[in-house]
Amino acid sequence: MVTPHPNHKPPEHGIHLMTDTIKLDINGKAFTLAAEPRVTLLDALREHLGLTGTKKGCDQGQCGACTVHLDGERVLACLTLAAQAEGKAVTTIEGLAGEDGTLHAVQAAFLEHDAFQCGYCTPGQIMSAVACIREGHAGSDAEIREYMSGNLCRCGAYPHIVAAVRQAAEAVR
């Protein structure tokens, strides 16, 4: 938010430097990882914790493949530092189904409507869809399309994604 002023020295107090240990709450489980502050939440999940369900499509906030929930809201893990997620509940695709493996209504609808092909954007689509419904943005096909537009799908499963979100929204309602 600011252009740093070159003539100032670091302050002697006031700034709390964090260590390179990051504590994360992911899908209800506590994780501690040793990672530099520059590690994004996306790379922490995929490269440090082996949670590869969250996908890296662009790493620039332009595709939505890395969508996860932070305290229940959809965000992009590629533009979130892992350290930023400390103290917040992270939910990824791995944490969406029930403990007994029961699929979330959105997952079941994606399978039924064939709302994916290669599957690479799919976890992000599903996480986005769950939030879209929760936000109340699944009231019409047009609204679903707009509020799901932050998730690109190059295979072109969009019409089936809309059908799946519509059905899941009705099931949740």
Partner: protein, 327 residues
């Protein structure tokens, strides 16, 4: 990204102090900062996360005016009933920006600090010449691919366009950016590139955006944000218009009009010429279309972006006419 330290400011004062530190950058959502750090455009040594500061995410709006904390998130403001009722253009500009995920992350203060999408600015390795990044190094965009570059407010040093949506609305409605004690009119918060395109805001070390306020007005209450782009969604504007309209009791005569352009200028572009041309006149399609051309007074094309000079007035005209029930 270069290695950096990460810390959380415990107070507003701490975040102010951080702005005086060489190599420190405030993280107010991160959607711009991390993006630009990955591009190599910014190389912070200290990232100071201010998103957990208390009390900076308030959202208040009424017919009297609006005040948004700098850390209010875009999605929250966009969905706020009082904002929708009293400042529809604000809500629309936020809803039409980026994607649902990014709007959940980005804050209004961070959004104001969003930088240009100029592909040459964003690619330091391939294009070292950029007066915005390296003052005096030249402008690689001149003579390059310029479809999304500015036609208004450019200089020989820089033709980058300002990409944001919200700020276009803010300048239309005389919003004020609060830097703690100091208040800067939104129009003055964005600087023309001139000879110093690297200096984008009049913000000083030790200053942090704390709030944005907008005076209430009949025009703000009857306002719209019209965004035209190639894709239906998830794209910056080819041209956009923030417009507010107030009619006299006769329902025809224009008492107040606010017009600002986005996507076509080096900064959010208030079109006072269009306003002046129409205020006091009767709202007719003919008058509006004729006056809307004043929106591109002084516009200069650069290669591929000449279409914006044709497009912008049409966007302005449509926005005014739709508010007046004529489109």
């Amino acid at each position: 990204m270069k290695p950096f330290t990460y810390s959380r400011a415990a107070s507003l004062d701490e975040s102010r102090t951080a702005t005086t530190v060489a190599g420190a950058a405030l993280l107010a959502g991160g959607t711009s900062l991390l993006d630009l750090a990955k591009c190599g455009v910014t190389e912070p040594e200290q990232v100071v996360d201010i998103t957990r500061l208390d009390g900076l995410d308030t959202i208040q709006a009424s017919s009297e005016g609006a005040r948004f904390g700098a850390l209010a998130r875009m999605s929250r403001v966009a969905a706020h009933a009082d904002v929708l009722a009293n400042f529809p253009a604000v809500a629309q500009s936020l809803s039409l920006a980026a994607s649902a995920q990014l709007r959940n992350m980005a804050t209004l203060g961070g959004n104001l600090m969003q930088r240009t999408r100029c592909g040459y600015f964003r690619d330091p390795r391939a294009f070292p010449n950029c007066n915005k990044r390296n003052p005096g190094s030249g402008c690689a965009a001149l003579g390059g691919v310029t479809r999304n570059h500015a036609v208004l407010g450019t200089s020989e040093a820089c033709i980058a366009s300002y990409p944001g949506d919200l700020a276009t609305v803010l300048v239309a409605f005389d919003a004020v950016v609060h830097l703690g004690e100091r208040a800067v009119p939104a129009d003055d918060f964005f600087l023309l590139p001139g000879d110093t395109p690297d200096v984008e805001h009049p913000i000083q070390p030790g200053e942090v955006i704390t709030a944005i306020s907008i005076p209430g007005s009949a025009a703000a209450k009857r306002s719209t944000y019209l965004k035209v782009r190639d894709r239906q969604s998830y794209e910056f504007a080819a041209a956009s218009a923030a417009v507010g309209l107030e009619l006299e009791a006769d329902g025809r005569t224009i008492r107040d009009l606010r017009v600002a352009l986005g996507g076509v200028a080096s900064k959010p572009w208030r079109s006072r010429a269009v306003e002046a041309e129409l205020i006091g006149k009767s709202l007719t399609e003919e008058a509006v279309c004729a006056a809307s051309w004043r929106a591109v007074d002084g516009a200069v094309p650069h290669g591929d972006n000449a279409y914006k000079i044709e497009l912008a007035p049409r966007v302005v005209a449509r926005a005014i006419l739709s508010l007046g029930g004529l489109a």
